[in-house]
Subunit: 359 residues, 4 copies
Amino acid sequence: MSPLSRIKVAVVGASGYTGAELLRLIEGHPLIELVMVCGHSTAGKALSAVFPALAHSDMMLQSFSADSVAAQVDVAFLALPHGTAQEAADALRSRGVVVIDLSADHRFDDPEHYAEVYGARHLFPQRLVEAIYGLPELNREQIRGAALVACPGCYPTSVTLAVAPALSGGLLSALEVIADCKSGLSGAGRSAKVGSLFAERGESMQGYKTLTHRHAPEMEITLDKLRPLSGDRSEEQSEERLTVHFSPHLVPMSRGILSTVYLRLESGVNEDQVRQRYLAFYRDEPFVTVLPSGEHPHTLSVRGTNRCHLGLTVKGGLLVVHAAIDNLGKGAAGQALQCFNLINGFEETLGLNHIGVYP
Amino acid sequence: MSPLSRIKVAVVGASGYTGAELLRLIEGHPLIELVMVCGHSTAGKALSAVFPALAHSDMMLQSFSADSVAAQVDVAFLALPHGTAQEAADALRSRGVVVIDLSADHRFDDPEHYAEVYGARHLFPQRLVEAIYGLPELNREQIRGAALVACPGCYPTSVTLAVAPALSGGLLSALEVIADCKSGLSGAGRSAKVGSLFAERGESMQGYKTLTHRHAPEMEITLDKLRPLSGDRSEEQSEERLTVHFSPHLVPMSRGILSTVYLRLESGVNEDQVRQRYLAFYRDEPFVTVLPSGEHPHTLSVRGTNRCHLGLTVKGGLLVVHAAIDNLGKGAAGQALQCFNLINGFEETLGLNHIGVYP
Amino acid sequence: MSPLSRIKVAVVGASGYTGAELLRLIEGHPLIELVMVCGHSTAGKALSAVFPALAHSDMMLQSFSADSVAAQVDVAFLALPHGTAQEAADALRSRGVVVIDLSADHRFDDPEHYAEVYGARHLFPQRLVEAIYGLPELNREQIRGAALVACPGCYPTSVTLAVAPALSGGLLSALEVIADCKSGLSGAGRSAKVGSLFAERGESMQGYKTLTHRHAPEMEITLDKLRPLSGDRSEEQSEERLTVHFSPHLVPMSRGILSTVYLRLESGVNEDQVRQRYLAFYRDEPFVTVLPSGEHPHTLSVRGTNRCHLGLTVKGGLLVVHAAIDNLGKGAAGQALQCFNLINGFEETLGLNHIGVYP
Amino acid sequence: MSPLSRIKVAVVGASGYTGAELLRLIEGHPLIELVMVCGHSTAGKALSAVFPALAHSDMMLQSFSADSVAAQVDVAFLALPHGTAQEAADALRSRGVVVIDLSADHRFDDPEHYAEVYGARHLFPQRLVEAIYGLPELNREQIRGAALVACPGCYPTSVTLAVAPALSGGLLSALEVIADCKSGLSGAGRSAKVGSLFAERGESMQGYKTLTHRHAPEMEITLDKLRPLSGDRSEEQSEERLTVHFSPHLVPMSRGILSTVYLRLESGVNEDQVRQRYLAFYRDEPFVTVLPSGEHPHTLSVRGTNRCHLGLTVKGGLLVVHAAIDNLGKGAAGQALQCFNLINGFEETLGLNHIGVYP
C-alpha cells in the first residue's frame, strides 16, 4: 500500500530491556519489517515467553548467525553486551549488512580509548573508523551516509544535549562540567542482581560509581569536539581538556534519566542569552524541546518517547541545565530508530512521534 | 496521501488523565484530525502548560460550546464528569455530532438505574435509549452503527471480559461473582486530594468502597444479559439476578487494573474446558489474549495499550480469572478509539496496535 | 539498671530480609542481648557490609555451630530456609537452647502434611510434636511454656487473624474461605531473581501460584481447629474440611501484606453482630485493632510494626475482611519477638510497641 | 519505675507528616509523657481519625491555647507553618515553656534575613536572639542550655553535615558549594496539591526551585560560620561570602533525602586526608556514620531513624559527598528529640537508637 517498501531488519540480543524497547518501537514503525529476533540464552524460546508484553506474538527467538542474518535482512540492530557486539558487527558489516549498534563497542574513534575504558583491546579497530556516533543532533549528515552507527549511551545523550549549545556557543568560562544524573532501574539491566531488587531499590536514592563511571570519557570526547575554535579562546584553554565530573544515581523508577548539569558561564551572560542560544541550537530539532523559563522537565513527560526536554536556570554566574529523556527511548532504542530513519532517507520522526506515557 | 480522509474530532474535558490519554492516542492515530480541545477550568491555557508531556504542542484549550464544536468536528470525545457529560452529549447529538462519552452518563438503559446509582435524575432519558454500551467484544455490531457510545468504566471492562466467556458458555453454577480489583492511582483522577498524595499511597495497599462502589451495578447489568437462555437453567436460577461482589483496592502504581475474579464452576468442568471456551470466545479479538496455562497477566504488559491479558486457574470447582488492562487504555481512552474505529468503518486496531510499555 | 536480666540470643540465618528485621527489632528490645549472628554465605563478613542500615555496627557474621551457639545463648531465632532449619533446630534443642523458628519447618503437627506440602520427609518428626504454632492470639498459653516455637508464615498470620473470630464464633455458613492476598516484594526474599527486579515489578500488579501456594494448607489446618463444636453444626458440616482458596499477588511495594478475605455469613447475621464479635475476640489483644465501620486498613499504617489492622464490611450475606500487617513484622520477626516475650515471661509488648512508619 | 521522671510535652500542629513523626518517636521515648496534641483544622477529632497508623490511640486533638499548654507541659514541640510558629513560640516562652520549633521561624539570627527570605517581618525579633540553631553536631553545648531551639530544615541538615568537616578543616579551595539534593515526597507536605499526587510523581524525577529555594540562605549562614579563621586564609577570601548553589529535586519515594555535594579541594588534598578529617570530626557523634571508601549511602539505610550516612569520593581535585538522612527523622522530628534530650540532660540517643527500616 505504501509507495515506500519496508526495510527488513533483525534485532540481535533481544532479551534485555533495550531489546524489548526496540521490538516495541519497531512494531509501531510503518516501514520496518521485523524478520528475525536473535537471543543467546533465549534462542529457541517464543518471544511471548521472554516478554509478557508480547503475549500476542508468535515469533521465535533464534541463535545468531551472521550468514543467516545477512541472507534475510538489510539492517541489524545490535543490543548486545560490549565485547560481544564488536564481533557481530564486524561479521555483519563484512556481509554488507547495515549495523546500528546500541552497545559501547563503537563509540570511540581511538582504540586506545576503548582499551583504557573497557579494559580490553578492540578486535576490529578499523570498524571504529567506520562507525559514526549516532547522535543526530550533532552528527545528522554523517549518520545519513553511515553503514555502522554507534548509538550513544543513555547518560551521554542527556548530558551532551544539555551542554552542547552553551559550550559550542562560547558561553562557558570553564571547560568543566558537573553532571549529576539520576537514572531509573532499567538502566541497570535485566540481569538478576540483589542490588537491583525491588525491595533494595524501592524508597531508595543512592549514588554509584561516582566520578568513575565509564560513560564519563564518552561524554568528554563528544563534548570536547564542540569547543569553540581556538580563536575564541585563550591559548591556555585550547590546550586544556574538557572534564566531566560525572556522578550517577539510581532512582526508584523503572525508566527515565534526569541529568542536572552545572556549568560556569562567561561573565555577564544572563538567562535570556542562554535561552536564546538553546532555542536557536534546537530550533529545527523534532525531538528536543527547551521549556519556558521557570519550568522543569520531568521524566514522566518523555516516558516511552524519543524526546528530550531541557530546562534552564541561571543565577550567580552558574547555568543549571536539567535534561530529561527516557533511557530506553532517546537513550537507546528510540535514538537507534532515529538513526535508522536517517540512514534510509525516511522522515526522521517516522514511527517515533510519541507523546509521553503520562501518567 | 491516504485514500481515506481524516475525521475531525474534538476532545471535551481534556484536563484530566483520561483526556491526556485521549490526546496521546489521537496523535498516534493516522485518520484523526484533532481540531479542538475543550477544558472548563483550563480554557484559555496552552495545552503544553496543562500537560508537560505536550510541551511541544502549540494548541490552546477552549471553552466548550456545542455550536462551535458542531461547526468544526464530526466526532466528539467527552471526558467530562458524570452529570456534566449528559448535557454536552445531548447538545452535540442535537447538532448531529457523533458522541463518544467516556463518563458514566449513558451506561444504563434504564433512567431508574441511573438515578439510583448516581443519585440524580437523568435529564435526557431518551439518550439512554440511543446510547450503545461501548464494549466491542460484546457489542461490536451495534457500535458500528452508533451515534452515541457510552464507554464502560475501567473496572467493568476488566471484570466483564474476565467473566463473559464462562458465564455465557454455561460453565458457572452460581450467578455470583467475587471481583477483587486492584487499580493504579490514575483511576482516582487528577484532582487534589490528600488521599491520593504520593506520600499517602507509596508503599500502601488499601481497599475502598468495598461492596458499595458504583461500578458494581454496571457490571451486574452487563453480565446479566450474558446469562445462558433459561432452557439451560432451572427456573429458579433464571429469575435470580446475577450479583457482583465488587471489592476495589488502590495499589501504589500510576496506571493499570488487575482484576481477580472468583467464579464457581458447574460440577465436573475442568481447566482445559474453561480454557477452550475462553480461547474460542476471544479467537478473533485483536486486543484480548488468553495466556497459556500457569501464566499470570501483569499490568506492566498492557501499560499504555488497548490490550487485555487473561489468566485462568481452576481448582476445587473454583475458576479464578486474572484480567489485566490499562485503566486509561482499554479501560477508557483506548476503548473509546476502538469504538471510534468501528463507527467510522476503519480497521478496528488502527492507531491502537501498541505493545505494552515494559518496563 | 533493670531488675530483669537480659536474655542472650543468637540470630541464625541473618542475611535475608527476615534476619535484617530481627536484628532491627532486637536492637530496640531492652531485655535482649544479641550475642551471635550466624550466616552461611556471609560468615566472616561484617554485619555492616551485609546490611547498609547497620553501617554503625561492628559485629561479625559467624558460621553456625550448634555447640558454639548453645555455649553462649539461651534463645536462638532461626531465619533459615525450610529444610535447613529443622537440622539446626534439632541440634539446638538437643543442647537445651530455646528455639524460635521462623521457617516453615515446624508449622505442621503431622509429618505427612509436611512431606506433602514441602516435598520432603521431615527428619525430626518428634520436634513437630514439641513445636507450638507461634500465633499468640490463638495459642498464647501454650507459647508461654514452649521451648520450640514455629512462627506462622506471613500470609497465614493475616488470613487467620481475619477469619478466626467469625469462624470460631459460628457466624459462617460455609467452611470455605476466599483469600485474595497482596504482598510487597520483600516477601519474595533477598535472592537475585529477574522476577523480583525493580524494573519488572514497578508499576506492576500480578498474581502468582494461584490456588497452589504452600501457605494454603497451613491456613486450612490452623483454621480448621477453630471450627465451632459439632453440636453447633450439622453432622455433614462437621465432617467437611475447611477450604482456603488462596490467591496471592505481588504489589509494587517493599513491605506489607493486605489480605482481603471473603466469607459467607449465616443467614441474618449483620455487620453490627460481626463487629461485636471481632471486637470481643480481640478486646485484650495489644497488637490487633478492629477499625471503625467504613474504614479500611492500609499497609502503611502498620509498616515496621507488629500490629494487625482489620476492616469489616458486610453486604448481601457476604463478609469481607481486610487485614493489614507488615510481612516482616507481625508476619515474621515481630511475631517471633512477641513469642520470645511470652516464653520469657516479659510483658508481651516489650520492644514491640511501635507506631507505623507513616508515611 | 525509672529514677528519672518523665517530661510532660505537647505537640502543637500535629496534622502534617512532621507532627505524625513526632508522635511516633515520642511514643517510643521512655522519658516523655505526651500530654496534649494540638491541631488547627483537626481540633476536636480523634488522633486515630487523622493518622490511621494511630488507630489504637484514644487521644483527641485540641485547639491550641498558650495558657492551656503552659499549664500542663514543660516542653512544646511546634510543627506549625512558618509565620504561625513565631506567635505560638513567643506566647509559650512568655509563660515559661521550653519550645522546640521545627518551623523556619527562628533559624536566622538577623530579622533582616528572615524578612528577606520569608517575605514578612518577624514579629518577635528578640526571640531570634534567644533561639539556638538545633544542629547538635555543631551547637551541642548551646542547645543544652537552650529554652528555644530552632530545628534546621531537612535540606540544610544534610548539606551542612556533608560540608562542615571539609570546610572547617580548611580543605576547600573555594567558598562555593554545589548541592544537588533529592527528596522524597513527604517533604512537600500533606496538603492536597495536584503536583504531589501519586500519579504525577510516580516514575518521575524533577527539579524544582533551582537556585531559588529558601533553604539556601539557611545553609549559607550556617556554613559561613564554619569557615576557618582568617589567618588560614587570604584576605580576599575572608571577605568573600560562602555561596551554596542549591538545586533540589523530587524523587518518587515517600521519605528520605540524598544530598550530593560538590566541593573544590585545596590543591594536593587526597581522599585519605579527607576521610581522616571526616572520621575525626564525627568520631563521637552517635548519629553520623562515615562509610568506608567506595560505599555510597542510600536513603533506605536511614529510613525512620535519626541517622546520617556520609559517603566520600575524591577525584581530579573535586570532593563529592553523599549524605543520606530521613527528612522526617534527622531532618525534622528525630533532630527535635535529639535537642530535647540535650536540653533535659538525658542521654542524647534516648528513644532515637533506631536502625533503618530496611527494606
